[in-house]
């Protein structure tokens, strides 16, 4: 069994531990060996917490030996984007500067919650510097590489999270998503990714980027694992002042409910142009499978994206103001020069953008009176090559770095929950994703639809052939 443990989902691993077919220690040892063997090529991990992981595994095995009931993620290894605090490590957030910080004294809330469900942290993951990135490249740690073709990007900024899950190094990883940083790597690496509603999951003890727009969420190769990890992470946390005061909304019990009664449409206009044909073909296939023949308009999507772009520039620059003065040469120049420009923008621009955010939220709320779920492309193309600076979309040459998030940015601008689902085309090595989007707080619906697509074989997340 040991040789194939990496291919099992978290729920299969739990069953194997509970039934005594394997032990948590055996699972962790296998995961550490696979990380050691493959990470030099993938660039997914920046830190491996082997000692801690083995100690947690032994604790789980001892509890099983005593006949105790194990948590819902028992024995499942997981890893986190390196902007999450991990006790004992400096939280580098993809930067050179932050690795001089004192080691974190406590784990981020979401790590503590996954470990309370008996998942096992095995390390921290590569990311674009300070999360201002859609490529997964990192000037200090090297790029994370796409497990389906190592010459191609993972997408970012949670690039290591995409690579670790698609490479079969862990069944579950955590990332952050301000403008698309979970959904872009999910699309390019071919895994399932959940960006919950803004304010749903605690961000406590993670390094921020844009407080108005930052979200945290999970990646997995199965929707069931995505749902189980999401359920384990929910719950109020006084340490995140932006968390909504709402009851939790568990999703596991409705995951297999299928499509019955759901009204599903695709987004037109902005979301039906400006991408490679492969992006729209993927939406076509999902829409056909879901019998979604309606198209609805997302009001002022281009202005929504513009607003998110400006808020990001200004809030990001404000966060980094002191470091830009004192340590400019220690930044990745691609990140630094965007931050410097952000520091120069008029305050009135970002206030207007925040007003537009409320306006768009209200209008999009009207769409969800008539439909339950809407579909949009996740990225405008499959994974570009590592180092590629520009691509051509609809005949127009554009920069890759800011534009991989064209279709994700308007959705997170108003905080809607999204599951990115991966699609494959015969003859193509690289996947591309579709966003399954619902009204605020309806993560249950996006995961239900994602699960139906997985069950029908429309969406799937195989381990990358290039590893």
């Amino acid at each position: 069994m040991k040789s194939s443990l990496h291919a099992l989902s978290a729920h299969e691993l739990r069953a194997a531990v509970v039934d005594g077919e394997t032990s948590a220690r055996e699972i962790v040892e296998a995961a550490l060996a696979r990380i050691g063997a493959l990470n030099p090529r993938l660039g997914a991990f920046t830190d491996v917490t082997a000692e801690r992981a083995l100690a947690k595994a032994d604790e789980i095995d001892a509890r099983r030996a005593r006949g105790e009931t194990l948590g819902p993620l028992a024995g499942a290894p997981f890893a986190v984007k390196n902007l999450f605090d991990v006790a004992g490590l400096p939280t580098r957030a993809g930067s050179k500067i932050n690795r001089e910080r004192a080691p974190a004294r406590r784990d981020a809330t979401l790590i503590a919650r996954l470990e309370a469900a008996d998942a096992i942290l095995v390390g921290a993951l590569n990311m674009g510097e300070y999360a201002y990135d859609f490529t997964g490249e990192n000037a200090h740690d090297g790029p994370s590489r796409n497990p389906h073709d190592l010459d191609h990007m993972t997408g970012g900024s949670s690039g290591g999270s995409g690579a670790a899950v698609a490479g079969g190094l862990v069944p579950i990883a955590l990332g952050s998503d301000t403008n698309g940083s979970i959904r872009v790597p999910s699309s390019l690496c071919g895994v399932f990714g959940l960006k919950p509603t803004y304010g749903r999951l605690s961000r406590a003890r993670s390094f921020p980027f844009v407080a108005s727009l930052d979200h945290l969420g999970p990646f997995a190769r199965s929707v069931r694992d995505l749902a189980a990890s999401y359920d384990a992470m929910q719950g109020a946390d006084a340490d995140d002042p932006a968390q909504a005061q709402r009851p939790t909304g568990p999703v596991a019990s409705t995951l297999e409910d299928g499509l019955g009664g759901l009204r599903i449409a695709r987004l037109g206009g902005y979301f039906a142009r400006g991408g490679d044909p492969s992006a729209f073909e993927a939406v076509d296939r999902v829409a056909r499978a879901l019998k979604a023949d309606r198209t609805v308009a997302f009001p002022e999507a281009e202005r929504a994206r513009a607003s998110a772009y400006l808020i990001t520039m200004v809030e990001g620059a404000a966060l980094h103001a002191d470091r830009l003065r004192e340590r400019a040469l220690d930044y990745d120049p691609d990140v630094r020069d965007r931050l410097i420009a952000g520091a120069m923008l008029p305050g009135a621009w970002v206030v207007k953008a925040q007003k537009l955010r409320r306006w768009v939220r209200d209008r999009v709320g009207e769409i969800f009176r008539d439909v339950d779920v809407v579909l949009a492309p996740a990225t405008p193309t499959r994974a570009p090559r590592i180092g590629q600076r520009t691509f051509t979309l609809d005949g127009q040459e554009m920069l890759v770095r800011p534009n991989l998030g064209l279709f994700t940015q308007p959705i997170s601008f108003i905080g809607l929950p999204v599951c990115a689902v991966p699609l494959w085309t015969e003859g193509e090595r690289l996947p591309i994703g579709v966003q399954v989007i619902a009204a605020p707080w309806r993560e249950d619906l996006v995961l239900r639809v994602a699960r139906a697509l997985e069950r029908e074989g429309v969406a799937s997340a195989p381990i990358g052939a290039a590893v």
């Binding site: 002022e300 202005r303 400019a328 120049p333 420009a341 520091a343 207007k352 409320r358 800011p402």
Partner: protein, 60 residues
Amino acid sequence: MTEFDADALIDATLPLLGLTLPEGSRPVVKLHLETAERLARLVLEFPLDDESEPAPVFAP
């Protein structure tokens, strides 16, 4: 709006911000400012009432 002059904005704000531009950065910062200004036009030209509220989360 009058024609946007990114160089003038850079020269006016650098001392206020206490920043110096690293070598080679000026053309890149200019490009980012020009992108931001083009996007800001989309945002600023959209009519909203004086009474419209911004959206940040704040719970007193």
